[in-house]
């Protein structure tokens, strides 16, 4: 009798122990897979720990990371997707909502990459930076059509200049400008070959103008008027 009880206890203990070991092995595999995406060990460990703390199974965590793996396979930047997962988990958001937000970002990344690749032949240089900035601007509400028009402008295609202009476009969109107004201002910046500092100053002028209660037309009408021409007008 005693022998039977001892055997039963041993059997009952062996099953969960095996499950724990198997689960731990799966988490290790998941960690290794994320490391292959080019994410640092410290970040992967922290996110995996957050997943376990939030009670996710390995399968759920793997599903959460799927957009990162997809981006890696499609030669898209993975960094901003992993950041979205980190942000969601840090803010205590349900993993399914984090997954949706990361999926939305992946979709924006795909569109952004397609828009840039339509006018460029390769992914070299600052391609990924520009794609990420376009992705963020689209996530903030700017339509793909705006970028299709911006990138098909005649003339040179300078990544550094475009990145600043796209950043400005996102800020103006978040201020409430329509797509056509944002495109107009972005084209203005490129027409005038503005430096990054000048582009940021232009955004400041809009933001200060909105705080003072001015509308787009009022601000835009005075935007490119130089002090000398103002004095001659008077």
């Amino acid at each position: 009798m005693h022998r039977a009880i001892a055997l039963a206890l041993l059997f009952c203990g062996a099953v969960p122990a095996d499950q724990v070991e198997h689960s731990s092995q799966n988490w290790k595999q998941l960690r290794g897979k994320n490391l292959e995406m080019g994410i640092s060990g410290e970040r992967v460990d922290r996110v995996v720990a957050e997943c376990r703390k939030a009670g996710l199974t390995v399968a759920e965590a793997e599903e959460l990371f799927c957009p990162v793996y997809a981006a890696h396979d499609e030669q898209l930047p993975t960094e901003c997707l992993f950041l979205k997962i980190e942000e969601g988990l840090a803010k205590g958001v349900d993993w399914k909502d984090v997954h949706k937000a990361t999926d939305r970002r992946l979709e924006c990344l795909r569109q952004a990459d397609g828009l840039v690749m339509a006018v460029r032949s390769g992914r070299g240089g600052q391609h990924q930076h520009l794609v990420m900035h376009v992705c963020m601007a689209m996530e903030s509400g700017l339509s793909a059509d705006v970028f299709a028009k911006l990138f098909s402008r005649p003339g040179g295609f300078r990544y550094g200049r475009l990145i600043h202009v796209v950043e400005a476009g996102e800020s103006l969109k978040l201020e409430g400008l329509t797509d056509s107004q944002v495109l107009h201002v972005m084209n203005d910046c490129l027409d005038r070959n503005l430096t990054g500092a000048e582009v940021f100053r232009m955004v400041d002028v809009f933001q200060e103008g909105f705080k003072q209660g001015k509308d787009y037309d009022t601000i835009h009408a005075t935007l490119w008027v130089s002090p000398s021409s103002t004095s001659s007008d008077r």
Binding site: A90, K91, R104, H133, E139, L174
Partner: protein, 168 residues
């Protein structure tokens, strides 16, 4: 004719012998350091001191001219000042894209007499998003930030573009 050629040959080979003791007298008249034999490439008798001092002085001035590697103005890093008015708070943290949304990584100093919490953080150049976490459970958007952006989770992040003036 044959005698003439023979005489010419003898004259061309003629050498006058130096007086006896001449070599010794020359060596005695030389300064001491010229007599010693040079060994190896290293300058003897302290003649390395002047070039070495000149080299050290040159290195000193070069090091003064070149900025230190870890200064706040190192390439791609810009110091940004964060501030939040939260007089009743016990703890204010800063989470953003620059610290991979890591909780506990940047804790603001404060509050000062007027209830302000502050932190100066070295940020890589580029576009960043951030939000404050007050007392570990309250997400607060920076009211002083110029650009605000919904995070898709029901909160609003602040967007900043940080560039060194030379690179903007």
């Amino acid at each position: 004719m044959h005698d003439h050629d023979h005489l010419e040959q003898r004259l061309s080979q003629h050498r006058t012998q130096a007086p006896e003791g001449f070599a010794d007298r020359v060596m005695e008249s030389l300064p001491t350091w010229r007599k010693s034999e040079r060994r190896g490439w290293w300058p003897a008798h302290g003649r390395w001191v002047a070039p070495a001092l000149a080299g050290a002085a040159a290195m000193f001035f070069i090091m003064l001219a070149v900025p230190p590697l870890h200064s706040s103005e190192q390439a791609g890093e810009v110091v940004f000042h964060f501030e939040l008015h939260a007089p009743g708070a016990d703890k204010v943290e800063l989470l953003g894209t620059f610290n991979n949304w890591k909780s506990g990584d940047i804790v603001l100093q404060g509050p000062d007499a007027s209830g302000h919490w502050t932190a100066s953080v070295e940020l890589p150049e580029g576009r960043h998003e951030y939000i404050f976490l007050v007392d570990g459970d309250r997400w607060v958007t920076d009211p002083k930030g110029a650009t605000h952006r919904p995070d898709g989770f029901g909160q609003v992040n602040t967007v900043i573009k940080v560039y060194d003036e030379d690179n903007a």
